[in-house]
Amino acid sequence: MWWIPGALAFFIVFAFFIEWVDRRFVARLQDRYGPIYTGTGGVLQPWADFIKLLSKEDITPAASDKVLFRLAPLVLPIFPIVGLCLTPILGKPIIGFDGDLIVAFFLMSVYTIMIFIAGYGSGNSFGIVGGTRAALQMLGYEVPFALAMIGPAILAGTLSISEIAYSQSNIWYAIPLALGFAVFMVCSLAEVDVVPFDIPHAKQEIVAGWETEYSGRKLALIHLAENLEMVFISALATALFLGGGYGPFSPPIPPAVWFIIKTLIVAIVISNLRAIFARFKIITLVEWSWKYLLPLAIVQLLVLELFFELGVIPWP
């Protein structure tokens, strides 16, 4: 158990590293350079932002709900950190038990609800609109998200994230569950609030959405929570669909290395999608997720059932 504080520190370092990779990658796709002068190749840029925000003045607006306004940014990073403890990102999970897939899904839902509370508590009209949008888009993507995560659980015959990851030694579940993986990726874009679905903090429409009123260390914690959520979703996609720690030359190379590389690749795919899309309207997201994503997720489960009946895949 001596390695748990190190693992928590690793999550935070990795979250900042992924923010730098994301900014550099998007900048290169847009024919820019992104941050390059802060540290080696700009890798310390998220740290500079974080330290600067921690040192800035912390304003509490008179119109805000004081308790919610102070509590929400403190509570927000906890959910992705606990979620990362469930995933076997360092070879084995810190807390793994049967049924932690449901807990992970619960943590993602509570994260979005906390965003709503943060926007509502700030007492700003833009903040309230942003929070309401976060809650509204959750109504759209959450059901197909849950259905897409059921597929790997059925294939592995367990509800434990790490057991699902360990059971992919023969085949990655993204291959038999390609449709479910696609639905999962689309919904995860909405979960981490990146561009096609960054409706809760649409910069051109509602100042900065739910985080409009947050300044100083509250904003620093909110940015940390967003980066950690990105890592959490990428790690979950790796564990459920992309074979977890398995990869070529796995016995000499430890599984944690493969897991981290795959997590990084999923994060780069997400930032690629962030660069090439424009923002959807809130009504389009909710409508499409009920019209297309949900039927596709159900079709995926039916196809899986058909595979079992035809004997293509043995029963778990």
């Binding site: 900014r23 900048a27 847009q30 024919d31 820019r32 350079y33 992104g34 941050p35 390059i36 002068y37 802060t38 700009g42 310390l44 840029q45 740290w47 500079a48 932002d49 974080f50 330290i51 600067k52 040192s55 800035k56 003045e57 912390d58 304003i59 910069k203 100042v207 900065a208 985080e211 409009t212 009123e213 947050y214 300044s215 100083g216 904003l219």
Partner: protein, 140 residues
């Protein structure tokens, strides 16, 4: 030259505010964030909310109508904060100096840290100004 001044110098987030300019300076200021100039190389970001901002980039002579709004935006920003007057109008009032409807420069209303003259200044001038601001924040 501690960690704090390093972090503050390397991460200057800018809020852009037009206080009655002709839009010429705004086009040039926003051009500094386009791929050709890319101010994000130095860690500079354009942020939408005054609560997130470190520097207020003001363009235009301050009209009497927008004076109160400018003061309000300035007061909404958390300390430590900097003000950049971008363009001749923002520096001195420019061709509108002495007009009955303008205050004649940003420094008549709020304290200004950095003046960037020009009508309009080039994006390179803004990058130069930001580099100067970074040098001052680091105490060099």
């Amino acid at each position: 030259m501690g960690v704090l001044s390093w972090a503050r110098a390397k991460s200057i987030w800018v809020l852009h505010f037009n206080s009655g300019g002709c839009n010429g300076c705004d086009i040039e200021a926003v051009a500094a964030f386009t791929p050709r100039f890319d101010a994000e190389r130095f860690g500079v970001l354009l942020v939408p909310s005054p609560r997130h901002a470190d520097a207020l980039l003001v363009t235009g002579p301050v009209t009497k109508q927008i004076k109160d709004r400018l003061i309000r935006i300035y007061e909404q920003m958390p300390e430590p904060k900097f003000v950049i007057a971008f363009g001749t109008c923002a520096c001195t009032g420019g061709v509108f100096k002495g007009s009955y409807s303008t205050c004649g420069g940003v420094d008549k209303v709020i304290p200004v840290d950095l003046y960037i003259p020009g009508c309009p200044p080039k994006p390179e001038a803004l990058l130069n100004g930001i580099a100067e601001l970074m040098r001052r924040v680091r105490g060099g």
